[in-house]
Amino acid sequence: MLEVKDLGVALTMGGQSVPVLSGVSFVLDRGHSVGLVGESGSGKSMTALAIMGLLPPGARVSGRIVLDGRDLLALPEREMCAVRGRRIGMVFQEPMTALNPLQPIGAQVAEPLRVHFSVTRGQANARAKRLLERVGLGKISPHRYPHQLSGGQRQRVVIAAALACEPDFLVADEPTTALDVTVQAQILALLAELAAETGMGLLLITHDLGVVSQTVADVLVMYAGRVVERGPTAGVFGAMAHPYTHALFAARPSESGGRPVAIAGQVPDPLYRPPGCAFAPRCARVRDVCATMPPLIGVGAHACACFNPRIAA
């Protein structure tokens, strides 16, 4: 079980400590899937990097990230290296740059095996070949280089490498954002399929609500470094409460050809967040009370941080 408890991250910018993430909590079980949605800058990647222990230098983390009883934030770097790639795999947003251009793809898929297990080169390569087949690259030689592959193929290589050691959890940070729409669907289907097959827990990060609704069991909607709404995916989509979730839903690109309605305004810079609800300046339902921080409360698993939620859809 991977449990994120009251996670906070502050980055040092220009000598100043700026909070970019606060009070993020969720639980991810094996065989389970959680989606993290929100606009650009809402802190999704920071959450992922905090879990991986790969935050930029100068970042200060608070809260706990507990993996099977051990707090990852308290682990010495050596032991954290044994967690990365072995217990938790990660897939990144940019397949074009996530692979080393100088190494053949087979070697890059085999690398985590050689790091975490004492296997021979031959064994690692044989397994890498099987992994490449599993992600649908059976026809592509492991001796190929990343620049000889398309974006979707590269993302498949990254996924194969992340899965090489059969991790218990996979963090996928916008794995399809950089890809063509048709390829996006294929990659998502592949991830869902692999998760079901291996029983690993999947943390899927995206800014696309449509993606979330089809792929994950639980969803967290993030805005300006906080969770503003969360719950079972069906529940959240069946009865959206937070005005931001509504806005995000209206802004999603839809297959039916309906026009997405862009959310007016921008995510506030972490340096200049308003006190209270960070969405207030962009919110049509804003009230005086919104100048104070709304708590995340709700009935059962479905919770929302808003003083004036819009219940009727």
Binding site: E77, R78, G85, T97, N100, P112, H147
Partner: protein
Amino acid sequence: MLGYLLRRLTILLATLLAASLVVFVVLQALPGDPAALILGTGAREDTLAALRHQLGLDAPLWWRYATWIGGLSVGDLGTSFTYHVPVAELVRQRVLVSLPLAAFAIALSTLIAIPVGVAAAARRGGAVDTGVMGVAQIGVALPNFWLGLLLILLFAIRLPWLPASGFPGWDAGAWAGFRALILPAVALALPQAAILARVTRAAVIDTLGEDFVRTARAKGLTRRAALWRHAVPNALIPVVTLIGLQFSFLLAGTVIIENVFTLPGLGRLVFQAIAQRDLIVVQDLVVLLAGSVIIVNFIVDLVAAWIDPRLRRVGA
């Protein structure tokens, strides 16, 4: 691969031909009398005529160019006017000093600069980085003749370990020859290493910020393993390119250090040939040095393609 090599060879020959034509035109075909240039003003007309005949200047221009190039192509570089020996022999002796010296200096510089540059990049902003880059800054600014003199004072005079100057020739034994090259090589290598270390540091800092380094860390590689296996190899192209440039420079651009250590190298030969207006030697050396620069570039390209698969062209 064969097609690629042939293409490169054609380019090499064409460039050499162009270089030879330019230097020939500048030295021999432009208005002005090479004989007068050599003998200086106030030379008597009959002396000038005799010299012109000796230099073959009474033949037509195209014929002079053709015989020079024809000779070059079979290794006959002509005869030096000042030394009265075949230029080929002159060059051979000098290359036997300059080539090992340049190779030695470049090896030394590379061995120092790459680990230092990588270490500084890995601890960017830390004490090691600041210290190393401070020393490198000084190293870049040091004139190498001063460094040469300092080395002679320290390791030849104060501590009589190494010869202060001169070159005994390889006939005196490999070790004796090597000993004579140690101090000049160090004097040449240190300033080059300072530049190379800075370039290495900058290149590694760039690649450390690349996504694939983060991917490597996410696979469980330690910071150190990600640095050496992913960041450093990707930083090597600019480093190798600079090493090639430095090597080309060291082959003949070292007249100052050759003078400080009284070494009979190519740099001094170039310098003397120009000073004494030994036209044929100047012409030959320009073409040879152009050739060596092109060959070094070619080797750099091969190494770069070996490092980076994206640089291997189709069919190469």
